[in-house]
């Protein structure tokens, strides 16, 4: 009995400590929801700049989305058609993924399942270095090294084209695919590996019958993050794809992407002009595309999970 009384008489925590903890909690909460605030604010800003032209009567949404004619500075007949730019973005990204997905997933499987510990550590460091190379340096390599190689070994008249941009983008997305993909494979419980091995699976059978099905969500996420990186990349594609607005007929044609177009022209467009507002609208379009990619990813992943 005496003991309990003593316990109740113990000093309570000082006021400032209680208050401080409350404040800290508030700050943390703020950090947590700041992402929502930033996304909303950026979207609002871009939308505000684009809204006057979007709702103006000189503007046709159908022409904006589906026309290939992009003549923003024409004196007699101004036309804002972004279809060629969208096709440019999609084609470069698609080529980049055709190269990067097999490479990236293959590397992820090798790093996580087949190589020894020292090799793994070395590879991971090197791959991280690869992802730390600034995109303008990649663009530089595309412009000088890759384009010469392409002219030398293909029949292309110019070396800056879809192939060049696709290879550069692939090299830039591989590190993301490798590191997220490796995490996904590492997250597969070891008991699955033991189950497979004890049933007499070879290492390769283990990979494609056990690990790939078990890690497919994470691997899909890895690929889609790679896609996101490729769609949004600006500087490297600006320098490596040739900057020609037209629908490409092969991977040796030059194209211009949505991102590169904004980067190249926003500085020259007078603030508040139609041209300026259309570029912001292009930004919204880009945002819409990446949002759609992310949303599909989320839905696909959830669909798989439910099954």
């Amino acid at each position: 009995m005496k003991k309990r009384l003593e316990a109740m008489n113990r000093p309570s925590r000082p006021r400032w400590a209680v208050l401080g903890e409350k404040m800290l909690e508030g700050v943390i909460r703020l950090c947590g929801i700041s992402a929502i605030v930033f996304v909303a604010a950026i979207l609002l800003f871009v939308f505000r700049e684009a809204a006057p032209i979007l709702f103006g009567d000189r503007f046709h949404l159908k022409q904006f989305l589906l026309s290939v004619e992009w003549y923003p500075t024409s004196v007699s007949n101004v036309r804002y058609g972004t279809f060629a730019l969208t096709v440019g973005s999609v084609s470069v990204t698609a080529l980049a993924m055709v190269i990067a997905v097999p490479f990236g997933l293959g590397a992820a499987i090798f790093v996580s399942e087949f190589c020894g510990r020292r090799m793994r550590e070395t590879l991971k460091i090197v791959i991280e270095l690869l992802s730390a190379i600034p995109s303008v340096v990649w663009g530089f390599i595309g412009l000088t090294v890759m384009s010469k190689l392409i002219v030398a070994y293909t029949a292309a008249p110019v070396g800056v084209n879809i192939l060049n941009g696709g290879v550069i983008l692939a090299l830039m997305s591989v590190p993301i695919i490798v590191s997220i993909g490796e995490d996904a494979l590492k997250a597969v419980p070891d008991s699955y590996r033991e189950a497979g091995l004890a049933l007499g699976a070879t290492r390769w059978q283990l990979v494609y019958r056990v690990l790939l099905p078990a890690a497919k969500n994470g691997l899909l996420a890895a690929v889609l993050l790679g896609v996101g990186r490729a769609v949004g990349e600006t500087m490297a594609v600006l320098m490596a794809t040739g900057h020609a607005v037209h629908i490409p007929h092969g991977i040796l044609d030059s194209v211009r992407t949505l991102t590169a177009n904004i980067a190249a022209e926003l500085g020259e467009a007078p603030v508040g002009s139609d041209h300026y507002r259309v570029l912001f609208l292009t930004g919204l379009l880009l945002f819409g595309i990446t949002f759609a990619v992310n949303l599909t990813a989320e839905l696909v992943v959830r669909g798989i999970r439910r099954k």
């Binding site: 699955y192 033991e194 189950a195 004890a198 007499g200 699976a201 078990a214």
Partner: protein, 257 residues
């Protein structure tokens, strides 16, 4: 009592994890068709010994072994031994049920799919194998309408039985069990034990267990290990009633462990 052929025989087997010696001069004979239990306190090497029999230990890079293991009359460290064939003949059930994240059906036929060329796999063969294997472990009645369910969504007891069932289409001779009941409740444990007794004679079973009462209930022979060495190996009834070694006696009385 008729004399039984050995299913597994080790001769002076020692094993090191890096610099740590986990097994020291183990020489045992496991008789065919019986249930043999490996008992001993934690860290005595019983799981290590079990995992030697299908060479699943070797996936950790730092393992080195000395001595011989003969499984079904063949030294498994010989150069011409195929790991795949060894592991088909020597199945393993793990401590925690580890069905693969596939359907019940695919779990049972997983081994067949691994080891048979695709063109020789007919749907009817697979169906037959599933029914046979699940019936043998007493799951077919409960699961015949749930073959498409994800195996990881089953009850733990069913999962563990499924892990046993998926070995059977490969026609193993020996089944290794590493504390197969430690994740299960009383009913699950009883079900697995009954299953083991039902599979006796048809398969040679080696079971590692922490639970002395379980060793006593299910096994014909019992091997007591301590610090990587075999202390005593005899018929279960003899080992528990009249242990030859004072260490064994103290362990089964619960003085340490």
């Amino acid at each position: 009592m008729k004399t039984r052929a050995p299913a597994i025989e080790t001769r002076d087997l020692s094993l090191w994890y890096g610099g740590f010696q986990a097994l020291d001069g183990v020489s045992i004979v496991v008789k065919r068709g019986l249930i043999t239990s490996l008992i001993g306190p934690s860290g005595c090497g019983k799981t290590t010994l079990l995992r030697c029999f299908n060479r699943v230990n070797e996936r950790y890079g730092c393992v080195s072994t000395k001595g011989e293991i003969e499984v079904l009359g063949k030294n498994i460290y010989d150069h011409d031994v195929s790991l795949v064939e060894l592991r088909k003949a020597v199945g393993m059930v793990f401590q925690r049920p580890n069905p693969l994240p596939l359907s019940v059906y695919e779990n049972v036929v997983f081994g067949l799919r691994l080891h048979t060329p695709r063109i020789r796999l007919r749907r009817s063969t697979l169906d037959e194998a599933v029914e046979k294997a699940l019936s043998e472990v007493g799951l077919f009645r409960e699961l015949k309408d749930k073959l498409d369910f994800k195996a990881t969504s089953l009850l733990l007891e069913q999962q563990q039985k499924l892990c046993l069932a998926r070995l059977l289409p490969l026609k193993p001779e020996i089944i290794l069990m590493d504390e197969p009941c430690s994740a299960l409740d009383v009913d699950g444990t009883r079900a697995i034990e009954e299953l083991m007794l039902g599979l006796r004679e048809k398969y040679t079973i080696v079971i590692v267990t922490h639970n002395m009462a379980q060793a006593r209930r299910v096994s014909d022979e019992c091997i007591f290990m301590l610090l990587g060495e075999v202390v005593e190996h005899s018929r279960t009834a003899d080992l528990f009633l009249a242990p030859q070694h004072h260490k064994t006696a103290e362990y089964i009385e619960g003085r340490y462990g």
